[in-house]
Symmetry: C2
Amino acid sequence: MKFEVTILGSSSATPIFNRNPTSQALNINEHLYLIDCGEGTQQQMLRFDIKASRIDYIFISHLHGDHYLGLVGLLSSMHLNGRKKPLYLFCPPQLKEIIDLQLKYSETTLQFPLEYKFTDAQKAEVIVNNNDIVVETIPLDHRIDCTGFIFKQKKRLRKLIKEKLEELNIPVEYYTALKKGSDYTSASGVVYKNETLTIDSDIPKAYAYCSDTLYNEQYFNQISNVTVLYHEATFLNDMLDRANETHHTTALQAAQIALKTNAKKLLIGHFSARYKTLNELLDEARSVFPATELAIEGKTFIIG
Amino acid sequence: MKFEVTILGSSSATPIFNRNPTSQALNINEHLYLIDCGEGTQQQMLRFDIKASRIDYIFISHLHGDHYLGLVGLLSSMHLNGRKKPLYLFCPPQLKEIIDLQLKYSETTLQFPLEYKFTDAQKAEVIVNNNDIVVETIPLDHRIDCTGFIFKQKKRLRKLIKEKLEELNIPVEYYTALKKGSDYTSASGVVYKNETLTIDSDIPKAYAYCSDTLYNEQYFNQISNVTVLYHEATFLNDMLDRANETHHTTALQAAQIALKTNAKKLLIGHFSARYKTLNELLDEARSVFPATELAIEGKTFIIG
């Protein structure tokens, strides 16, 4: 099953040339899940061949403009391009008011159902549970209400050892039960333990997205052992005071979080416009957590 | 005096790769006047070296998203970059409500005065009158309230013929009166007519910006004899029905308007995303009005 993330924007509050505000597109089994939608996300999607028509879920972490100002433009383009199928939007409740006002004054009635599911920044909740994935909110610690999101693959059924089943002439109608873990008893009464007929499926992968937040241990438990952790790293650690004041994280802190929560890999992003190059941020994070990468525009990372 | 326009966006409703929604930056005597501000205008300004700090006036024609969705991001960046001087925003009154709501939910208090001047789509009005320029609204005919804008240079004072003044030993304190058109009477009582001491200043230039509109002769008188006419040309004329239905103009109509109103030069823009190349639109307009250019991203046109 495909499980990968493409970075559409890596910039914090103000954009700089070639760095756009935050947005990421998750491809899960060929369905697209858009996380945050800063200004210009539509253009980034065109640039990196992310098809808007394949997005069914959009997640907005909070209502600072660099995380959502591209949304109304994207909805409008979906509408103009003839979308009819529903779009599920997970966001703070106030975003509905903002969108409704803009649609009202442009006299636009969307031609597709926009289904809102409001997030609650005070508690972790399961907000999506479909065949491929479970998504939970992560309450973060920012200046305004803000949630991250964790995407957990579901545990798949066990895999059949086909040669063994054929050797024993086990009828096909038993296969589903075997995948679910049952033992098999033959017509002559011999019991074959499930472990001898199937193997365990892959360990489910998880992607945690921690947008704007102060370093705060409260959410560490929820993101423990993820396959890939995206964490904001707005500043170098020599600006820790500024990070604390603005409720952001430094590259060093992001790496410490990855280490503490036992992530396999760390992606850092949401870089302040003051950093024209990003090597120092990467070096600082890698000094603590070597498996760190820069989450920059156009890069795709496999969650695995 | 510098008087030129740089195109930041040429696309209509939905952006396509390398074509952004509408925005233009007028440079008038080194002051910047931004006209419309579609999504991604900030990024276009970075690309084409248009400094946000030099913008004092912003004009928004109407509240379709492709003409204003970049505005809140731009205001936010001005705020974060330490702007203190006032910004004058000319726009439909409902835009204040939209901006206020977004600032409220991001808990942002702009650190500079944002001075609103509301446009009235029912009548032409002078909305700016400073040392360099007079700006008037142009009531257009779109699906929602929409105004264009016409920027008219002021008539400058007459130019002194320095050699003549020195030859006659005319004291410097008379120069201002001469520039304003007075004759000069010497100590001995000889009258020198102003025309022998000064020459007329250049004919004032004018730039008319006609964003989204149906072909409608009502505004033609107001834009007659401009130096440069920007007119939307969303469709080729084989889509005239669609243009009428959506209250837009075809390239052929834009050229007919330039011809009828005696423009010196025509710029066309606001191209539908269906046109991957623009040659046909240009050819169609030039078949009627040869002095036509494509108003595409990054191009600068001198109004003169």
